[in-house]
């Protein structure tokens, strides 16, 4: 994959001399980029159960095992031969995992399709940072009655980290939160600051936890702490997908929100002001 395989891409300035693309370079590609990002949510790729993969890798690394990756010298020159162990269970289970993901997506679609606005514009679904975003052509109906997250309860700040299965981070820019909550049996940790600022943290690696519905303007891609984040600049309906039975619970109208993902952990920062301020706060997460 070295860059000299194909010299054509190495000279960005060379594009200007290529008449075919002159027009395209005058504008941006936000529309096709958004469509591609949405398409990603509809692509199935193999995903054997992570615990099985981890166990298989560990088995190969156990000190008792010989460290020869591949007995076949021909294979060693390229990709060392895969260990033949453990293939079958992973393959059998793979399909099931995808069916689970599919079921969750269907829940979101069903909700969207149940409203006239949704039906007119079941346009596109983005899966980003553990959040499903339905993009419609029109502004979705606001949620009138706010509902808390399932099982949401206030906990002491010091005990927050001990009640969830992932590391908790705090944005240095905002200082210590006013209070914190844990929801849905330790799956979501939330922190609150004066002025309606809220930061939710959760492990969204397997399937989405939140869903959002937005009309134009659509989410804007921005860089947060070196990773891709998305800025939702308008108020929008926010909901939650429960783990136990995949029920989709409408929650409230969310204020402008920044979402991003670091490793398997997902963050949504709501009500922290404009885009620049939100990014500044997000960058200060420690």
């Amino acid at each position: 994959m070295s860059s000299h395989d194909d010299p054509s891409g190495d000279n960005p300035s060379g594009d200007a001399s290529d008449g075919t693309f002159d027009d395209a370079f005058d504008g941006t590609f936000d529309d096709i980029a958004a469509e591609l990002t949405a398409l990603a949510g509809f692509l199935d790729a193999p995903n054997p159960p992570p615990a099985d993969v981890a166990a298989a890798v560990r088995a190969r690394l156990e000190p008792g095992r010989p460290t020869t990756d591949a007995p076949d010298p021909e294979a060693t020159r390229h990709t060392p031969a895969p260990a033949p162990v453990r293939r079958t269970p992973a393959r059998l289970l793979r399909r099931r995992r995808w069916q689970v993901v599919t079921a969750i997506v269907l829940v979101v679609i069903a909700i969207t399709a149940a409203t006239p606005q949704g039906r007119a514009a079941v346009a596109t679904i983005l899966r980003l940072a553990g959040i499903e975003i339905t993009l419609g052509a029109t502004t979705p109906t606001p949620i009138a009655t706010p509902t808390p997250l399932p099982g949401e309860r206030v906990v002491a700040l010091e005990s927050l980290a001990g009640q969830v299965g992932f590391p908790i981070k705090v944005p240095a820019e905002l200082g210590d939160p006013q209070y914190a909550t844990v929801s849905d049996n330790g799956r979501v940790a939330s922190m609150f600051w004066p002025g309606g600022i809220r930061l939710d943290q959760f492990d969204g690696s397997l399937s989405p936890y939140f869903f959002k519905k937005v009309g134009p303007p659509w989410p804007e891609e921005i860089t947060v702490a070196g990773v891709t984040g998305w800025w939702l600049g308008g108020e929008h309906p926010l909901g939650y997908i429960t783990r136990d039975d995949d029920t989709a619970v409408p929650l409230r109208q969310a204020k402008p929100t920044l979402i991003w993902q670091s490793g398997a952990l997902c963050y949504r920062l709501e009500g922290a002001g404009g885009k620049e301020r939100a990014v500044q706060v997000a960058n200060s997460l420690r």
Binding site: F25, I32, L36, F42, P50, I109, R119, V122, A264
Partner: protein, 185 residues
């Protein structure tokens, strides 16, 4: 297991370096889905599972070369991309985009089958257009939009200069728009 899942990457890497295989197991589980998706999308096809397992084994053995404090994700995905590249080269085949359009979409909006069919058709055409992109443009587009990597991460994963990522992405997007037109704007 709770202590495993509550470790952040840096702590898991530190413990792995000290020989704690349970810590590394947690790290593998955390990145397994993304690694499989990357391998499949960069051309590993049916062999994505083997490529990923191999990549994780190699990553462990080379963990000492990982620069602590830098993000683990692009470092790992670069190994996955390399393994995938080795595989496709050794098999002498094109690195096809090995994904399929989810059947989910066929079932969406049951009271609007026509709209659903149009949307699904649109997705199929776009996916086909991505498949047919020249290899470099396809890889750039896949990393940026299907794997949702930043430009800098894409450059690291594919081992390209940043300028190449930018120009290949732009060329790819321009070609896609020519192929399928602009519908959502």
């Amino acid at each position: 297991m709770k202590s495993d899942s509550s470790m952040d990457d840096d702590e898991a890497i530190g413990r792995s370096l000290a020989g704690d295989l349970a810590a590394y197991e947690a790290l593998v589980a955390r990145y397994s889905a993304l690694a499989h998706r990357t391998a499949a999308m960069l051309g590993a096809g049916d062999e994505a599972e083997d490529v990923v397992q191999e990549a994780f084994v190699k990553a462990f053995r080379h963990l000492a070369t990982f620069r602590r404090g830098s993000p683990f994700r692009p470092w790992l995905l670069r190994i996955v991309a390399n393994e995938t590249h080795n595989l496709t080269r050794s098999r002498g085949r094109r690195s096809d985009l090995a994904v399929r359009l989810s059947a989910t979409a066929d079932l969406r909006a049951p009271d609007d089958p026509e709209g659903a069919a149009v949307a699904q058709d649109r997705r199929a055409r776009l996916l086909e257009a991505v498949r047919n992109l020249p290899e470099r443009e396809r890889q750039a587009v896949v990393c940026r939009y299907f794997l949702q990597l930043s430009e800098a991460e894409t450059a690291q994963v594919l081992d390209w200069p940043l300028g190449t990522v930018k120009s290949s992405t732009h060329r790819g997007l321009a070609r896609l728009r020519e192929e399928v037109g602009s519908e959502l704007a």
